[in-house]
Protein backbone atom coordinates (compact mmCIF):
# COMPACT_ATOMS: atom_id res chain seq x y z
CA UNK A 1 0.00 0.00 0.00
CA UNK A 2 1.20 3.50 -0.79
CA UNK A 3 1.27 5.96 2.11
CA UNK A 4 1.79 9.66 2.70
CA UNK A 5 4.47 10.05 5.34
CA UNK A 6 5.21 13.77 5.43
CA UNK A 7 4.21 17.16 4.11
CA UNK A 8 6.30 20.05 2.88
CA UNK A 9 5.06 23.64 2.70
CA UNK A 10 7.20 25.83 0.50
CA UNK A 11 7.18 29.19 -1.27
CA UNK A 12 7.81 28.92 -5.00
CA UNK A 13 9.09 32.43 -5.78
CA UNK A 14 10.35 32.53 -9.38
CA UNK A 15 13.35 34.69 -8.38
CA UNK A 16 14.59 31.80 -6.22
CA UNK A 17 14.70 29.69 -9.37
CA UNK A 18 16.48 32.45 -11.25
CA UNK A 19 19.03 32.76 -8.44
CA UNK A 20 19.79 29.03 -8.66
CA UNK A 21 19.80 28.97 -12.46
CA UNK A 22 22.24 31.90 -12.65
CA UNK A 23 24.48 30.65 -9.82
CA UNK A 24 24.15 33.60 -7.45
CA UNK A 25 22.84 31.77 -4.39
CA UNK A 26 25.87 32.71 -2.30
CA UNK A 27 25.40 36.44 -2.77
CA UNK A 28 24.49 38.24 0.48
CA UNK A 29 20.94 38.86 -0.73
CA UNK A 30 20.29 35.16 -1.39
CA UNK A 31 22.52 33.44 1.15
CA UNK A 32 19.96 33.54 4.02
CA UNK A 33 17.20 32.28 1.73
CA UNK A 34 19.12 29.15 0.82
CA UNK A 35 20.68 28.64 4.26
CA UNK A 36 17.24 27.74 5.54
CA UNK A 37 16.91 24.90 3.04
CA UNK A 38 20.16 23.15 3.99
CA UNK A 39 18.43 21.01 6.60
CA UNK A 40 15.59 20.34 4.15
CA UNK A 41 17.97 18.94 1.58
CA UNK A 42 19.40 16.54 4.14
CA UNK A 43 15.90 15.63 5.27
CA UNK A 44 14.63 14.77 1.80
CA UNK A 45 17.79 12.79 0.98
CA UNK A 46 17.13 10.77 4.14
CA UNK A 47 13.38 10.51 3.51
CA UNK A 48 13.92 9.61 -0.14
CA UNK A 49 10.29 9.64 -1.29
CA UNK A 50 9.31 7.53 -4.28
CA UNK A 51 6.63 9.97 -5.30
CA UNK A 52 5.97 13.64 -4.56
CA UNK A 53 2.36 14.76 -4.82
CA UNK A 54 2.95 18.42 -5.61
CA UNK A 55 0.18 21.00 -5.17
CA UNK A 56 0.98 24.25 -6.96
CA UNK A 57 -0.53 26.88 -9.17
CA UNK A 58 0.18 27.91 -12.69
CA UNK A 59 0.90 31.63 -13.09
CA UNK A 60 -0.87 32.27 -16.41
CA UNK A 61 1.82 30.37 -18.21
CA UNK A 62 0.46 27.01 -19.28
CA UNK A 63 -3.19 27.85 -18.65
CA UNK A 64 -4.36 31.00 -20.36
CA UNK A 65 -7.70 32.66 -19.71
CA UNK A 66 -9.63 30.45 -22.13
CA UNK A 67 -9.82 27.45 -19.78
CA UNK A 68 -9.47 27.79 -16.00
CA UNK A 69 -9.74 24.51 -14.08
CA UNK A 70 -10.15 24.74 -10.31
CA UNK A 71 -8.19 21.51 -9.79
CA UNK A 72 -6.15 20.09 -12.69
CA UNK A 73 -4.41 16.79 -12.04
CA UNK A 74 -1.42 15.95 -14.23
CA UNK A 75 -1.83 12.46 -15.71
CA UNK A 76 0.68 12.75 -18.57
CA UNK A 77 3.86 10.64 -18.64
CA UNK A 78 6.02 13.72 -18.14
CA UNK A 79 5.89 17.49 -17.80
CA UNK A 80 8.43 19.78 -19.46
CA UNK A 81 9.42 23.09 -17.82
CA UNK A 82 7.52 25.88 -19.58
CA UNK A 83 8.84 29.05 -21.15
CA UNK A 84 7.50 31.77 -18.84
CA UNK A 85 8.70 34.64 -20.97
CA UNK A 86 12.45 34.30 -20.50
CA UNK A 87 13.00 30.73 -21.72
CA UNK A 88 12.32 27.44 -19.89
CA UNK A 89 14.21 26.81 -16.62
CA UNK A 90 17.29 24.62 -17.20
CA UNK A 91 16.06 21.80 -14.95
CA UNK A 92 15.08 18.18 -15.60
CA UNK A 93 11.81 17.18 -17.20
CA UNK A 94 9.39 16.10 -14.44
CA UNK A 95 8.43 12.42 -14.64
CA UNK A 96 5.04 11.23 -13.43
CA UNK A 97 3.93 7.99 -11.80
CA UNK A 98 1.30 7.88 -14.50
CA UNK A 99 -0.57 4.84 -13.27
CA UNK A 100 -0.84 6.19 -9.75
CA UNK A 101 -1.88 9.62 -11.05
CA UNK A 102 -4.79 8.19 -13.00
CA UNK A 103 -5.73 5.98 -10.06
CA UNK A 104 -5.89 9.12 -7.93
CA UNK A 105 -7.92 10.93 -10.59
CA UNK A 106 -10.50 8.14 -10.68
CA UNK A 107 -10.62 7.89 -6.92
CA UNK A 108 -11.05 11.66 -6.47
CA UNK A 109 -13.88 11.88 -8.99
CA UNK A 110 -15.73 8.96 -7.39
CA UNK A 111 -15.09 10.75 -4.08
CA UNK A 112 -16.93 13.76 -5.57
CA UNK A 113 -14.04 16.08 -6.31
CA UNK A 114 -14.55 17.54 -9.76
CA UNK A 115 -11.04 17.11 -11.09
CA UNK A 116 -9.86 18.14 -14.54
CA UNK A 117 -7.59 15.44 -15.99
CA UNK A 118 -4.55 16.79 -17.85
CA UNK A 119 -2.98 14.34 -20.27
CA UNK A 120 -0.61 16.97 -21.68
CA UNK A 121 0.84 19.76 -19.60
CA UNK A 122 3.95 21.85 -19.13
CA UNK A 123 4.81 23.18 -15.68
CA UNK A 124 6.00 26.59 -14.53
CA UNK A 125 8.09 27.81 -11.57
CA UNK A 126 5.23 27.02 -9.20
CA UNK A 127 6.16 23.36 -9.57
CA UNK A 128 9.86 23.41 -10.42
CA UNK A 129 11.13 25.89 -7.80
CA UNK A 130 10.06 23.75 -4.81
CA UNK A 131 11.84 20.78 -6.39
CA UNK A 132 14.96 22.89 -6.90
CA UNK A 133 15.10 24.22 -3.35
CA UNK A 134 14.57 20.74 -1.90
CA UNK A 135 16.88 18.78 -4.21
CA UNK A 136 19.47 21.44 -5.11
CA UNK A 137 20.97 22.16 -8.51
CA UNK A 138 19.97 19.80 -11.31
CA UNK A 139 20.65 20.20 -15.02
CA UNK A 140 18.30 19.14 -17.80
CA UNK A 141 20.50 16.02 -18.20
CA UNK A 142 19.86 14.97 -14.59
CA UNK A 143 16.73 13.35 -13.22
CA UNK A 144 14.65 14.48 -10.28
CA UNK A 145 15.14 11.83 -7.54
CA UNK A 146 11.37 11.32 -7.20
CA UNK A 147 8.44 10.89 -9.52
CA UNK A 148 6.03 13.82 -9.29
CA UNK A 149 2.22 13.94 -9.53
CA UNK A 150 1.25 17.59 -10.09
CA UNK A 151 -2.01 19.10 -8.93
CA UNK A 152 -2.52 22.57 -10.35
CA UNK A 153 -4.96 24.80 -8.42
CA UNK A 154 -6.56 27.98 -9.72
CA UNK A 155 -5.64 30.82 -7.38
CA UNK A 156 -5.43 33.59 -10.00
CA UNK A 157 -9.04 34.02 -11.12
CA UNK A 158 -11.19 34.79 -8.08
CA UNK A 159 -12.47 32.70 -6.37
CA UNK A 160 -9.84 30.12 -5.55
CA UNK A 161 -11.30 26.98 -3.97
CA UNK A 162 -12.06 27.54 -0.29
CA UNK A 163 -9.56 26.51 2.39
CA UNK A 164 -12.10 24.01 3.61
CA UNK A 165 -12.40 22.44 0.17
CA UNK A 166 -8.62 22.25 -0.12
CA UNK A 167 -8.30 20.64 3.30
CA UNK A 168 -10.93 18.04 2.40
CA UNK A 169 -9.26 17.44 -0.94
CA UNK A 170 -6.12 16.58 1.02
CA UNK A 171 -8.09 13.95 2.92
CA UNK A 172 -9.44 12.53 -0.35
CA UNK A 173 -5.93 12.42 -1.83
CA UNK A 174 -4.82 10.45 1.19
CA UNK A 175 -7.65 7.94 0.68
CA UNK A 176 -6.70 7.65 -2.98
CA UNK A 177 -3.00 7.11 -2.20
CA UNK A 178 -3.79 4.52 0.46
CA UNK A 179 -5.96 2.55 -1.95
CA UNK A 180 -3.11 2.24 -4.46
CA UNK A 181 -1.59 -1.21 -4.23
CA UNK A 182 2.07 -0.42 -4.88
CA UNK A 183 4.32 0.00 -1.83
CA UNK A 184 5.36 3.65 -2.18
CA UNK A 185 6.60 6.38 0.14
CA UNK A 186 4.76 9.55 -0.83
CA UNK A 187 5.51 13.08 0.37
CA UNK A 188 2.99 15.82 -0.35
CA UNK A 189 4.02 19.42 -1.10
CA UNK A 190 1.83 22.48 -0.67
CA UNK A 191 3.45 25.45 -2.34
CA UNK A 192 3.07 29.20 -2.82
CA UNK A 193 3.02 32.19 -0.51
CA UNK A 194 3.76 33.35 2.04
CA UNK A 195 2.48 36.95 2.27
CA UNK A 196 3.08 38.83 -0.94
CA UNK A 197 1.44 41.27 -3.26
CA UNK A 198 2.94 41.68 -6.71
CA UNK A 199 0.52 44.23 -8.14
CA UNK A 200 -0.49 47.86 -8.11
CA UNK A 201 0.03 50.45 -5.42
CA UNK A 202 0.08 48.13 -2.41
CA UNK A 203 2.78 45.86 -3.92
CA UNK A 204 5.39 44.72 -1.45
CA UNK A 205 3.01 43.99 1.44
CA UNK A 206 4.58 41.59 3.93
CA UNK A 207 2.83 40.42 7.09
CA UNK A 208 5.31 38.48 9.18
CA UNK A 209 2.97 38.20 12.14
CA UNK A 210 0.23 36.69 10.00
CA UNK A 211 2.67 34.33 8.27
CA UNK A 212 4.06 33.14 11.60
CA UNK A 213 0.58 32.46 12.96
CA UNK A 214 -0.25 30.53 9.78
CA UNK A 215 2.84 28.34 10.17
CA UNK A 216 2.08 27.78 13.88
CA UNK A 217 -1.53 26.81 13.26
CA UNK A 218 -0.59 24.20 10.65
CA UNK A 219 0.40 22.04 13.63
CA UNK A 220 -1.80 23.39 16.41
CA UNK A 221 -5.10 24.16 14.64
CA UNK A 222 -5.20 22.95 11.05
CA UNK A 223 -8.98 22.64 10.85
CA UNK A 224 -9.58 26.12 12.24
CA UNK A 225 -6.93 27.50 9.90
CA UNK A 226 -8.66 25.95 6.89
CA UNK A 227 -11.82 27.96 7.67
CA UNK A 228 -10.17 31.32 6.95
CA UNK A 229 -12.17 33.28 4.36
CA UNK A 230 -10.53 34.46 1.13
CA UNK A 231 -10.82 38.11 2.07
CA UNK A 232 -8.49 37.61 5.03
CA UNK A 233 -5.72 36.25 2.80
CA UNK A 234 -6.25 39.10 0.35
CA UNK A 235 -6.29 41.81 3.00
CA UNK A 236 -3.69 40.47 5.44
CA UNK A 237 -1.30 38.53 3.22
CA UNK A 238 -1.60 40.46 -0.05
CA UNK A 239 -3.52 39.70 -3.20
CA UNK A 240 -1.13 36.90 -4.17
CA UNK A 241 -1.06 35.58 -0.59
CA UNK A 242 -4.24 33.65 -1.40
CA UNK A 243 -1.89 31.01 -2.81
CA UNK A 244 -1.67 29.79 0.79
CA UNK A 245 -4.94 27.89 0.37
CA UNK A 246 -2.83 25.24 -1.36
CA UNK A 247 -1.04 24.47 1.89
CA UNK A 248 -4.35 23.15 3.29
CA UNK A 249 -4.35 20.38 0.68
CA UNK A 250 -0.98 19.26 2.01
CA UNK A 251 -2.11 19.55 5.62
CA UNK A 252 -5.37 17.69 5.02
CA UNK A 253 -3.46 14.73 3.62
CA UNK A 254 -1.49 14.26 6.86
CA UNK A 255 -2.50 12.86 10.23
CA UNK A 256 -4.40 15.13 12.61
CA UNK A 257 -1.31 15.04 14.83
CA UNK A 258 1.95 15.96 13.17
CA UNK A 259 5.42 16.94 14.26
CA UNK A 260 7.02 20.07 12.88
CA UNK A 261 10.56 18.96 12.05
CA UNK A 262 11.77 22.11 10.33
CA UNK A 263 10.76 25.70 9.68
CA UNK A 264 12.34 28.52 7.73
CA UNK A 265 11.12 32.08 7.27
CA UNK A 266 12.90 34.95 5.59
CA UNK A 267 12.08 38.33 4.05
CA UNK A 268 12.61 39.16 1.22
CA UNK A 269 12.93 37.17 -1.93
CA UNK A 270 11.97 39.64 -4.61
CA UNK A 271 8.48 40.85 -3.49
CA UNK A 272 7.86 37.95 -1.20
CA UNK A 273 8.17 36.47 2.25
CA UNK A 274 9.75 33.02 1.92
CA UNK A 275 8.13 30.41 4.13
CA UNK A 276 8.88 26.74 4.48
CA UNK A 277 7.84 23.99 6.85
CA UNK A 278 8.28 20.24 7.10
CA UNK A 279 5.63 18.22 8.92
CA UNK A 280 5.83 14.50 9.66
CA UNK A 281 3.09 12.12 10.63
CA UNK A 282 3.88 10.96 14.16
CA UNK A 283 3.49 7.31 13.25
CA UNK A 284 5.96 7.45 10.34
Amino acid sequence: MARITAGVGCSHVPAIGVAMDTGITDQPYWQPVFKGFEKSREWIKEKNPDVIFLVYNDHCTVFDASCIPTFALGCAAEFAPADEGWGPRPVPVVKNHQKMASHIAQSLILDEFDITIMNEMEVDHGLTVPLSVMYGDKTPEDEWPALVIPLCVNVVQYPAPTGNRCYNLGKAIRRAVESFDEDLNVVIFGTGGMSHQLQYKRAGLINQEWDTAFLDRLTSDPVGLSQMPHVEYLREAGSEGVEMVMWHVMRGALDDDVTEVHRHYHVPASNTAVGHIILENKAS
Partner: protein, 134 residues
Protein backbone atom coordinates in the same frame (compact mmCIF):
# COMPACT_ATOMS: atom_id res chain seq x y z
CA UNK B 1 -24.89 41.26 -7.82
CA UNK B 2 -25.77 39.24 -4.76
CA UNK B 3 -22.24 37.93 -4.21
CA UNK B 4 -20.89 40.76 -2.09
CA UNK B 5 -17.44 41.93 -3.10
CA UNK B 6 -16.07 41.97 0.43
CA UNK B 7 -12.60 42.59 -0.99
CA UNK B 8 -13.28 45.90 -2.68
CA UNK B 9 -12.18 48.00 0.29
CA UNK B 10 -8.59 46.76 0.19
CA UNK B 11 -6.48 49.73 -0.92
CA UNK B 12 -4.14 49.70 -3.92
CA UNK B 13 -5.29 46.24 -4.97
CA UNK B 14 -7.34 44.68 -7.74
CA UNK B 15 -8.93 41.32 -7.07
CA UNK B 16 -9.09 39.52 -10.40
CA UNK B 17 -12.70 38.38 -10.32
CA UNK B 18 -15.06 37.47 -13.13
CA UNK B 19 -15.95 41.09 -13.90
CA UNK B 20 -12.27 42.03 -14.28
CA UNK B 21 -11.58 38.82 -16.17
CA UNK B 22 -14.26 39.64 -18.74
CA UNK B 23 -13.05 43.20 -19.12
CA UNK B 24 -9.41 42.22 -19.54
CA UNK B 25 -9.84 39.02 -21.54
CA UNK B 26 -8.20 39.98 -24.84
CA UNK B 27 -5.56 42.12 -23.13
CA UNK B 28 -4.56 39.18 -20.96
CA UNK B 29 -4.63 36.74 -23.87
CA UNK B 30 -2.30 39.07 -25.76
CA UNK B 31 0.08 39.21 -22.79
CA UNK B 32 0.23 35.43 -22.32
CA UNK B 33 0.98 34.96 -26.00
CA UNK B 34 4.37 36.53 -25.25
CA UNK B 35 5.44 33.53 -23.25
CA UNK B 36 6.68 31.98 -26.52
CA UNK B 37 9.86 33.25 -28.21
CA UNK B 38 8.34 33.24 -31.69
CA UNK B 39 5.55 35.51 -30.49
CA UNK B 40 7.96 37.79 -28.66
CA UNK B 41 9.96 38.10 -31.88
CA UNK B 42 6.84 38.95 -33.89
CA UNK B 43 5.62 41.48 -31.33
CA UNK B 44 9.00 43.17 -31.04
CA UNK B 45 9.30 43.42 -34.82
CA UNK B 46 5.87 45.09 -35.22
CA UNK B 47 3.96 45.92 -32.04
CA UNK B 48 0.97 47.56 -33.74
CA UNK B 49 0.59 44.81 -36.30
CA UNK B 50 0.85 42.10 -33.66
CA UNK B 51 -1.80 43.78 -31.50
CA UNK B 52 -4.27 43.84 -34.39
CA UNK B 53 -4.92 40.14 -33.76
CA UNK B 54 -6.29 40.93 -30.27
CA UNK B 55 -9.63 42.79 -30.17
CA UNK B 56 -8.87 44.84 -27.06
CA UNK B 57 -10.27 48.31 -26.38
CA UNK B 58 -8.40 51.36 -27.69
CA UNK B 59 -7.55 52.28 -24.07
CA UNK B 60 -6.06 48.83 -23.43
CA UNK B 61 -4.09 48.92 -26.67
CA UNK B 62 -2.76 52.37 -25.87
CA UNK B 63 -1.73 51.25 -22.38
CA UNK B 64 0.14 48.31 -23.88
CA UNK B 65 1.99 50.47 -26.39
CA UNK B 66 2.85 53.06 -23.72
CA UNK B 67 3.67 50.42 -21.08
CA UNK B 68 1.36 52.07 -18.57
CA UNK B 69 1.61 49.26 -16.05
CA UNK B 70 -1.00 50.49 -13.57
CA UNK B 71 -3.41 51.46 -16.31
CA UNK B 72 -3.21 47.90 -17.65
CA UNK B 73 -4.45 46.62 -14.30
CA UNK B 74 -7.15 49.27 -14.08
CA UNK B 75 -8.41 48.09 -17.49
CA UNK B 76 -8.76 44.44 -16.48
CA UNK B 77 -5.22 43.17 -16.78
CA UNK B 78 -3.87 40.74 -14.21
CA UNK B 79 -0.32 40.97 -12.93
CA UNK B 80 0.59 37.41 -13.98
CA UNK B 81 -0.38 38.32 -17.54
CA UNK B 82 1.08 41.83 -17.65
CA UNK B 83 4.33 40.49 -16.19
CA UNK B 84 4.80 38.58 -19.47
CA UNK B 85 4.88 41.92 -21.28
CA UNK B 86 7.29 43.23 -18.65
CA UNK B 87 9.51 40.15 -19.03
CA UNK B 88 9.64 40.81 -22.75
CA UNK B 89 10.96 44.28 -21.90
CA UNK B 90 13.50 42.85 -19.46
CA UNK B 91 11.62 44.04 -16.36
CA UNK B 92 11.34 41.52 -13.53
CA UNK B 93 8.58 41.30 -10.91
CA UNK B 94 10.46 43.37 -8.36
CA UNK B 95 11.30 46.23 -10.68
CA UNK B 96 7.74 46.16 -12.04
CA UNK B 97 6.51 46.60 -8.46
CA UNK B 98 8.92 49.50 -8.09
CA UNK B 99 7.23 51.16 -11.06
CA UNK B 100 3.63 50.35 -10.06
CA UNK B 101 4.01 51.64 -6.52
CA UNK B 102 5.55 54.86 -7.82
CA UNK B 103 8.49 54.32 -5.47
CA UNK B 104 11.10 53.57 -8.08
CA UNK B 105 13.39 50.59 -8.23
CA UNK B 106 15.85 51.47 -5.46
CA UNK B 107 13.38 52.70 -2.86
CA UNK B 108 11.16 49.66 -3.45
CA UNK B 109 14.07 47.27 -3.13
CA UNK B 110 15.15 48.98 0.09
CA UNK B 111 11.62 48.71 1.49
CA UNK B 112 11.65 44.98 0.80
CA UNK B 113 15.08 44.55 2.40
CA UNK B 114 13.68 46.29 5.46
CA UNK B 115 10.85 43.79 5.83
CA UNK B 116 8.44 44.96 3.15
CA UNK B 117 5.34 47.13 3.31
CA UNK B 118 3.70 46.85 6.72
CA UNK B 119 0.06 45.80 6.89
CA UNK B 120 -0.45 48.62 9.38
CA UNK B 121 -2.43 51.35 7.67
CA UNK B 122 -2.68 49.29 4.47
CA UNK B 123 -5.67 47.06 5.15
CA UNK B 124 -8.60 49.35 4.33
CA UNK B 125 -9.19 51.98 1.70
CA UNK B 126 -10.36 54.32 4.49
CA UNK B 127 -6.86 54.22 5.97
CA UNK B 128 -5.41 55.43 2.65
CA UNK B 129 -8.11 58.10 2.25
CA UNK B 130 -7.24 59.48 5.69
CA UNK B 131 -3.57 59.66 4.76
CA UNK B 132 -4.36 61.61 1.61
CA UNK B 133 -6.42 64.20 3.47
CA UNK B 134 -3.80 64.59 6.22
Amino acid sequence: MAIKKDYEDIPGTFVFDADRGREGYHLNQFCISLRLQKNRDAFNADEEGYLDAYPMTPEQRDAVLKREWNRLLELGGNIYYTSKLAANDGINFQDLAGIMTGMGREAYRDMMLNGGRSPEGNRYQSEWDEKETD
